[in-house]
């Protein structure tokens, strides 16, 4: 089974912001703490655009309907659907029209719950379409990028790695921040400040 499309939190927040309009539904799937993710997403959106975001937890299909009635406008982030049973999904799907909102709704849930949604709530799934994303962490500075930076540093200075390390050990390294970065990328961070 192919995995879900992945998104970092920042681009996902953009998707939420740019979707804001008539009854857009997005889903963010996370293995981590759903409430924390919802809060982080809310913070990200508020920081980006100054919009007030409603964050709510629901415990049942009826609860979701109540939440929608109470918050018909704007961006809403909803957690708690992890706990939905078959009856909740069934209800939510049958009464899908009652979930219609004027703004964007984001469901934050775990992988098991999204399977339930797709299989038990096909009408709601149709509203969501392909807007289902697995939350991924930002990519670190990987080996390829590290090497690109080291190549640039060598070309710029005319020095080789070993010479830089030797000079750092002797306390002779020039003052440019580039050399501190060089040591860090070589894994010789313990020489910083020597």
């Amino acid at each position: 089974m192919p995995s879900l499309a992945a998104s970092e939190l920042g681009p996902f927040a953009f998707r939420v912001l740019e979707s804001d309009g008539s009854n857009a539904w997005l889903v963010l799937v996370t293995d981590g703490a759903v409430d924390t993710t919802a809060r982080m997403l809310s913070d990200e959106i508020s920081t980006l655009d100054g919009q007030i975001v409603t964050v709510g937890a629901v415990s049942s299909g009826a609860d979701l309907e109540s939440f929608v009635r109470a918050h018909a406008d704007g961006i809403a982030i909803v957690t708690g659907v992890n706990g939905f049973g078959d009856a909740d999904w069934h209800r939510v799907d049958l009464n899908r029209t009652r979930l219609q909102r004027n703004g964007t709704t984001v469901l934050v849930l775990d992988p098991a719950a999204i399977e339930q949604l797709e299989n038990r709530a096909p009408n709601l799934a149709s509203w969501i379409g392909g807007s289902i994303w697995r939350l991924e962490k930002p990519r670190p500075l990987d080996d390829v990028l590290v090497e690109q930076r080291l190549v640039a540093l060598r070309q710029w200075s005319g020095l080789e790695d070993l010479e830089v390390v030797r000079r750092a050990e002797a306390g002779d390294l020039p003052p440019d921040p580039a050399y501190a970065e060089w040591l860090t990328l070589l894994g010789r961070g313990e020489l910083l400040g020597k």
Binding site: M1, P2, S3, L4, A5, P11, F14, R15, E18, S19, G21, S22, N23, A24, W25, H90, R91, D93, L94, N95, R96, T97, R98, Q100, I114, E115, Q116, E118, N119, P122, N123, A125, S126, W127, I128, G129, G130, S131, I132, W133
Partner: protein, 387 residues
């Protein structure tokens, strides 16, 4: 206009889950060839008390066709049509006979400028009380004493619906006809029903009762109405209309229609023709999926920093869409889809098969032989493992 403003505008015009009424209001609606709304209106024009069942896959545009039909019917001088979304008022989990009669009556009374009458008041009280606790609500207390006659009349088909209220509704409809208009009601959202017996009872009793009242009925029903036991429901109606996916592969007219649907919402300077055609192909002919894919492609373009939507964005959107459709599929279902992909063979016999149809993993093109096909966005993913 800034880049952000251009994409914002684009997003408002490709809101896939927006109220279909908005699409019509914003003049984004494109009339399909052989629209079922045209067929329904033509029939009701001649037989305003006829009963029509509409079935079709999720996202195929059924609601929009009902809204268009209601609009067209209301342009006729001798018909008053009302669109009713059953689920707005009635919890579909608790479907019971009488709810369509009640809804029809409330809709009818809304448009009748009668002086307040007891009849009207009692019907409204009955209908409104219905939603709160239908299982408890008995006859209102205006009925007086019933005297049992010598001849026992046959039990009406709507035996679980108050006969008195049905008669009241019949009188309201008669008043409407005397004013020169036949009343037609178009019921939406019952296609989501999975409770076969509840739906069958509704059809048996409510549709019959509405027939008694000489009220025309158009009703969107569940796709299972077409199969097996469900055929009994079809027989309660005068006409069956199937709103399926558009055959974008084999029907050039259908392909052109969907092209125009997108072109009505966005110019070529933002979404070129080649990309529109790619979106049409990826949608499998399902209207809502087409709009959803178009929006997703727009997202990709905006997030990539692009000024226009390019093929790479369409492909990314289609890939994400296909992955979402693959969620929750188990190996037997994947095997079924692979078999369909390679041989065209799909026999709709089990609930699992029906689920594949209901969830759009399998699409049906009635005029094609064989009629079934795997959703295009899933096809390239069927052989992939996780990760």
């Amino acid at each position: 206009m800034t880049r952000r403003e251009r994409f914002k505008q684009y997003m408002t015009r490709v809101a896939a889950a927006a109220d279909p009424a908005l699409t019509i209001e914003q003049k984004l609606y494109v009339h399909p060839p052989s629209a079922i709304s045209d067929v329904i209106v033509r029939h009701l024009e001649i037989e305003p008390t006829s009963r029509h069942l509409v079935v079709g896959s999720i996202g195929s545009g059924k609601t929009t066709q009902l809204l268009v039909a209601a609009q067209e019917l209301n342009s006729l001088p001798d018909i008053r049509a009302v669109y009713v979304d059953v689920s707005r008022k009635q919890d579909l989990v608790k479907l019971k006979p009488g709810c369509l009669v009640a809804l029809a009556g409330l809709a009818l009374l809304e448009g009748q400028p009668l002086a307040t009458s007891d009849e009207r008041r009692w019907f409204t009280k009955w209908a409104n009380g219905y939603w709160l606790h239908p299982e408890e609500y008995g006859e209102p207390d205006d009925d007086g004493v019933q005297v049992e006659g010598v001849v026992t009349p046959p039990r009406p088909e709507w035996h679980e619906i108050s006969a008195m209220q049905v008669e009241r509704l019949a009188r309201f409809a008669e008043i409407e006809r005397e004013a020169g208009r036949h009343f037609v009601v178009l019921f939406d959202s019952l296609d989501r029903t999975t409770n076969r017996s509840a739906f069958t009872q509704l059809i048996d009793q409510d549709v019959s009762a509405l027939r008694r009242c000489n009220i025309g009925v158009v009703l969107i029903g569940p796709i299972r109405s077409l199969e097996g036991f469900g055929r009994l429901e079809v027989d309660r109606f005068d006409k069956l209309h199937v709103q399926g996916a558009v055959d974008v592969e084999q029907d050039p007219g259908g392909r052109d229609f969907l092209f125009r649907v997108l072109r009505a919402r966005v110019e070529a300077s933002m979404l070129p023709d080649r990309e529109v055609l790619a979106l049409v192909a990826a949608s499998g002919g399902v209207l809502r999926d087409l709009i959803s894919l178009a929006k997703a492609a727009g997202d990709e373009a905006y997030l990539s920093g692009s000024e226009i939507i390019e093929m790479s964005h369409v492909q990314a959107a289609a890939d994400a869409f296909g992955r979402s459709l693959m969620i929750g599929l188990h190996q037997p279902e994947i095997d079924t889809l692979k078999h369909l992909r390679s041989s065209g063979g799909f026999v709709w016999t089990t609930d699992d098969d029906l689920a594949l149809l209901a969830t759009r993993r399998v699409l049906e093109y009635p005029r094609r032989n064989p009629p079934f096909s795997v959703h295009p966005t899933i096809v390239p993913l069927l052989d992939q493992k996780a990760g």
